[in-house]
Amino acid sequence: MKMLASHIRKEYAGRTVLKDCSCVFNGSGAYVLMGPNGCGKSTFLRICSLLERPDDGELEYWDDDKQLIHGLSLRRRMTLVLPRTGVFNSSVYHNVAYGLKVRGLSPGVLEERVDRSLAVVGLGHKKKQHALTLSSGETQRLGIARALAIGPEILFLDEPTASVDEENTAIIEEVIRMMKKEGTTTVIMTTHDKDQAERLADTLLFMTGGIIEERKP
């Protein structure tokens, strides 16, 4: 799935966060968006993942030559991992199964996909544990496992390693590399870590003053 954002503008209480953001995300690879705190990176990801509406501008999603209509079925082909994961007060398993349950998948398929996603992020052994007892690094990985389970075509990651130690950062980066290699998912992430951005990005994007610029790494 290809995505085009053109001239996106967003204001909060009279303050313009996004002035004129345009960007093209082609079928695969990793896009890393950098920029100072509060510059609107998160807002941009929330708009692109159809969590919020822009005040102005166009968002287009294309499947080959067919433009996709905005709505639930499009929303379900992508997902955003929030910086604060939003862990459900239940088991690790239930957390990862949630996205599949709301899609009405059969229990058999569900269990297999949950197991696979947990294995990818290295949380297979914590399946039955209460999700609120995970460490912050594990919680971040749980958020990624929840997203992987639904097999998104576009995966938005909002600062996936911001409050995470080196070991967990390495695991998360490895997952992103794996997705790049598989080539079925476009990864669009934000980070403040310049080295990480260079390690992972196929395309580097910078946001300043409510505008996005592209730089080749």
Partner: protein, 234 residues
């Protein structure tokens, strides 16, 4: 002092020998309060969810009203239901006064604001990030709402149990609308009041012990639920 001790001994005797009168009274109490609680939950949970999740004109007023009604004096509710159901009242034709149904109505009115207000507070206390997380994972609007209610489930259980505690211990309203008729509308609390008046303490003490045990169980369950709801990373 002797009569008190004697009362206790005879009370235990009644409980141990499963005295039919005693257990009849106990079951009626549980039936009346249990039914009232079921109805109050069926109405109160959706109302609390509505107050917690939807924005509509008059919402703040509704929340304040429900919170105020939590402290309704049972005798006032008894009086109000009595007037409604008395022969000359608007619902007098139904002939419900001095029946278990009248008692269920009165206790439903007492339990409803407690269930609604505590469910509302359980639901508004759910972290807003939960709704967003559900949404990012592909939930529809209704599924988001269900995710929030599921997240508030421990608070909702507490609300129901708190309301149960209140109606089980209540005497004013059911005495007025039920009339404390032996074998028909006589429940634990009204029996205790009557037997104490008569000076025959055995049955009153036996029922007091059972009522306290039920209260204790309710609180123990409530405590466990609240503890379970508070799981957090150390």
């Amino acid at each position: 002092m002797d009569s008190l001790l004697n009362g206790f001994l005879q009370a235990f005797d009644l409980i141990l020998h499963l005295d039919p009168a005693l257990f009849g009274i106990m079951f009626l109490s549980l039936k009346v309060s249990g039914s009232a609680l079921l109805i109050a939950t069926a109405i109160g949970l959706p109302s609390g969810a509505l107050l917690g999740l939807k924005r509509f004109p008059g919402r703040d007023l509704a929340i304040s009203s429900v919170n105020t009604l939590m402290g309704l004096p049972p005798v006032v509710v008894g009086l109000f239901v009595y007037i409604l159901l008395s022969r000359k009242g608007p619902l007098g034709f139904m002939g419900l006064l001095y029946s278990p149904s009248a008692m269920i109505i009165a206790q439903t009115i007492l339990a409803l604001p407690i269930v609604a207000a505590l469910c509302h507070s359980a639901i508004v206390n759910v972290d807003p990030v939960i709704r967003q997380a559900a949404r990012t994972l592909g939930a529809t609007r209704n599924q988001e709402t269900l995710a929030i209610i599921h997240e508030a489930r421990y608070g909702i259980f507490s609300a129901v149990i708190a309301a149960f505690g209140r109606v089980m211990a209540e005497v004013g309203a059911i005495l007025i609308v039920g009339g404390n008729i032996a074998g028909y509308t006589r429940v634990m609390t009204t029996t205790i009041a009557l037997e104490t008046d008569k000076g025959s303490f055995e049955l009153a003490i036996a029922l007091g012990i059972i009522l306290l045990s039920i209260s204790f169980t309710i609180n123990a369950v409530l405590h466990r639920i609240q503890k379970k709801g508070m799981v957090r990373a150390a």
